[in-house]
């Protein structure tokens, strides 16, 4: 009824190619942004802002990063957490050694460092692909963490090898409350997500997709393989690097290299797959699903205990949560291998016709 595109005419190519060709989508998106920026910080309590929404946004950004590499350019990577670690530790060092640097500048530079590391470890992708490449990126994961542990400079020679993120000050305003940290994260993520969306619609994005779909064919039509693949690694790592910096500065505060272990890499890959390979929206959906599901299962089991008064053994519940988490992932892969983004799309198609299905 409401969601109908009848009467919306496109007179130019620009209009036809915009991100949201349907007016209702534009309105919905504007409302979503307004809610996220204005309403959520006002009504959200501290727990939601600092323990759920901020990590969710950070995870979304990292997922977008990996999605650019895996979803758009077709290169499987298990080194995401390492790029995040580079971002976090370099942002700390830029702030430490150049105190005059505005925080966003540090984030950007840290992202560039991550991009450089990404390009180095992306070199093998010119020769190998598929699971061989995935396992090869593990070299990056382990090497980077090892180097961060081993080289004192990265942690400012801290005895235990941890870094404590500096206070964030933007234009004289100290970002300390959960709401302000949330807003900072949200702004960075929103801008970068929009950039990613546009980048993937550009020539670069199309080159990525050509490489993904058939690299030999892409080379035949004149796409430079080395440049494209390395660019994909660089952009992806840049996103992951910034996400890592946000993770350290806006969420954890004090981090050791172990905080960016292989588990995080896998989780981000999960988010890509569950959300939808090659979809920016899917990155958000996937990140939401994987971040919230364990917490949600935990809340449900707590709720069952309190409502029904059954004293369930906690270890048993924790294990059940693990089983359900794994089971749900398999379930989703089976019912919708193309991910949540695809479900969303189907829903939209349905809504367009509703209430008359034909």
């Amino acid at each position: 009824m409401l969601y109908r595109e009848a009467g919306q005419f496109k007179a130019t190519y620009v209009e036809d190619q915009q991100i949201f060709p349907i007016r209702q989508d534009r309105i919905a998106f504007a409302i979503l942004l307004a809610v996220a920026f204005l309403v959520v910080p006002l009504v959200g309590n501290q727990y939601w802002l600092s323990a759920i929404l901020t990590p969710f946004l950070v995870a979304s950004l990292a997922t977008i990063g990996l999605n650019i590499l895996t979803g758009y350019a077709g290169q499987l990577s298990l080194g995401t957490a390492a790029f995040m670690a580079v971002g976090a530790f370099m942002a700390y060092n830029f702030e430490l050694r150049m105190p005059w640097m505005p925080i966003l500048g540090s984030f950007a530079l840290a992202g560039l460092c991550a991009a450089a590391v990404g390009m180095v470890f992306g070199l093998p992708s010119l020769r190998i692909k598929g699971f061989y490449l995935a396992v090869a990126t593990l070299a990056c994961q382990f090497f980077v963490l090892w180097a961060l542990q081993r080289i004192g400079w990265f942690t400012n020679y801290s005895t235990s090898g941890v870094i404590t993120a500096q206070k964030i000050v933007i234009l004289g305003y100290a970002v300390v409350t959960p709401a302000s940290k949330y807003l900072l994260t949200l702004s960075v993520v929103a801008v970068m997500a929009l950039l990613a969306k546009n980048l993937m619609r550009s020539q670069t994005g199309r080159a990525f997709m050509a490489v993904r779909d058939m690299d030999v064919a892409a080379e035949v039509i004149g796409i430079r393989m080395m440049r494209t693949k390395l660019l994909a690694f660089a952009i992806s790592s840049f996103y992951c690097g910034v996400a890592g910096a946000l993770y350290a500065f806006c969420y954890l505060g004090t981090v050791e290299p172990e905080a960016f272990n292989l588990d995080i890499s896998f989780r981000i890959l999960f988010m890509v797959i569950v959300g939808g390979v090659g979809s920016i929206l899917g990155s958000f959906l996937g990140a939401g699903f994987i971040t919230l599901l364990p917490i949600f299962l935990n809340l449900v089991s707590g709720w069952i205990r309190h409502t029904f008064g059954v004293e369930l053994d906690h270890a048993m519940l924790s294990n059940l949560e693990l089983i359900i988490f794994g089971g749900l992932i398999i379930f989703f892969l089976i019912v919708e291998p193309l991910g949540l983004a695809r479900l969303w799309q189907i829903g939209k198609e349905k809504l367009r016709l509703w209430p008359f299905p034909h």
């Binding site: 501290q46 727990y47 542990q149 005895t159 954890l252 588990d263 707590g302």
Partner: protein, 444 residues
């Protein structure tokens, strides 16, 4: 068909989400809430389930026997951190507003999570007790008002360990020219004792070689071959989880005598030696709590809690194990700090800020230990604004293949080495973070 299931599944999920978010547990007013954010699954589950089993058993005993502390009932709620930083922070945020006065005190039970919570706890005025783990320099209470590495820190225990080795060698002067190898878990936790060992090596004239074992440490052939080549007099084991039994096994394979290996307390529980089988016989580990069920407080727990079928440990053989009694010690300290705070602020639920005062003015002397029925289970403890550690002494235990036997009395740490390092490190932290240390003479 597929579509129908999909819709139903999504609907069920959404419905459950609503319910879960709409209702939370309710708390009565006269209760003291202490979160139990630990781990009951995964590679470190024995540590998490044993420790919080002990804490909760002790609280349960107080509730049953005394109706809580001065009439204030203790409540708790478990939250699964999986020994993972992000989950730990989420659990902390979830638990900090619960109960009538919020979370009273948090035991993060993970060095990584402790690091992540130091600033958050300080900002929220919720004290952290990192008993035998976490950040060593937090013992300087002027810089870290809300962090309490109680009883003993990694650096303190390390000096006690060298003292122990000294006595075994026949005097500290005999350490000259000796070779010690420090096998450590390659993480923030593992690296913590490197500087203090270097300082002592210089002081006593022994050589120390640090050998890293990459996480998780389930393959240590190369490390122990290096040990074999160095032929050290002693090996200090700083392991965690699977690294410990693997190290003992690898030592056996390299022919290194197990009674020359001294472990930290996170390498010294039953769970660390049983998987190694006979290879663990003779192995020595430090401990700040002793195992066993003969202490009156443990008997009380058995009588009040386990008789009623309310005990936390499912496996009876784990009652009185190292991790379990460590939890009981943590329970005693927490409860005593609450009692201390109640002495000043009244017999009602106290806030985190008041709890901070309670911990800082905690004084469990020998007489009090006797009343508690914990003589021999733990050492006397006196905390102050300057010193957030309190005790510092450890006993050494030796595994005989069946149980841990105590082989020494309490061995005090060497604060003349540790304290200057702590103050220096804390001062560096204060400078980096722009913290003005408190003036302890003005604290009451």
């Amino acid at each position: 068909m597929l579509k129908r299931t999909r819709q139903m599944a999504l609907g069920a999920l959404a419905g459950a989400a609503m319910l879960a978010l709409a209702s939370g547990p309710s708390f009565a007013q006269n209760e003291q809430f202490i979160p139990a954010n630990g781990y009951w699954v995964g590679p470190y589950a024995p540590g998490g389930s044993g420790f919080f089993g002990g804490v909760i058993d002790y609280f349960q005993m107080l509730n049953t026997r005394d109706g809580g502390i001065n009439g204030v009932k203790l409540t708790w709620e478990k939250c699964e951190t999986e020994y993972n930083n992000a989950r730990g922070v989420e659990c902390y945020e979830r638990s900090k507003k619960k109960g009538p006065t919020g979370a009273t005190v948090v035991h993060p039970l993970s060095t990584g999570i402790t690091y992540s919570l130091i600033e958050k706890g300080t900002a929220d005025k919720i004290p952290l007790i990192s008993m035998g783990y976490g950040r060593t320099d937090a013992a300087d209470g002027r810089v870290f008002p809300y962090v309490f590495p109680l009883i003993t820190t990694y650096w303190s225990q390390n000096t006690a360990k060298i003292k122990f080795i000294g006595t075994k060698e026949g005097g500290m002067d005999k350490l000259k020219g000796k070779k010690i190898v420090n096998i450590y878990h390659d993480s923030a936790y593992g690296k913590e004792t490197i500087p203090v060992l270097d300082v002592q090596a210089k002081k006593y004239g022994f050589t120390v070689t640090h050998i890293a074992v990459p996480h998780p440490g389930n393959e240590q052939q190369a490390q122990w071959l290096q040990v074999r080549q160095i032929k050290p007099d002693w090996v200090i084991l700083r392991g965690w989880g699977v690294m410990n039994p693997t190290a003992l096994k690898a030592a056996a394979r390299a022919g290194f005598p197990r009674n020359k290996i001294v472990g930290v307390w996170w390498s010294g529980a039953e769970e660390d030696v049983i998987p190694a089988g006979d290879a663990a016989k003779g192995y020595i580990a430090a401990g700040f709590n002793l195992p066993g069920t003969n202490f009156p407080v443990m008997q009380e727990i058995l009588k009040q809690v386990y008789k009623n079928g309310k005990g936390e440990m499912e496996d009876d053989s784990r009652i009185g194990s190292i991790y379990h009694t460590r939890g009981v010690v943590a329970g005693i300290i927490t409860a005593e700090a609450i009692r201390t705070a109640q002495g000043k602020y009244g017999k009602k639920p106290i806030t985190g800020e008041q709890m901070r005062w309670g911990i800082e003015n905690l004084n469990i002397n020998d007489a009090r230990l006797k009343q508690l029925g914990a003589v021999g289970l733990m050492q006397a403890l006196k905390v102050s604004c300057m010193d957030h550690e309190g005790g510092g002494a450890v006993k050494f235990l030796q595994w005989n293949g069946k149980k841990w036997n105590v082989i020494t009395d309490w061995i005090a740490s060497d604060q003349s080495i540790v304290r200057p390092m702590i103050e220096q490190s804390a001062a560096a932290y204060a400078k980096e973070k722009g913290i003005t240390p408190r003036d302890c003479s003005k604290e009451s």
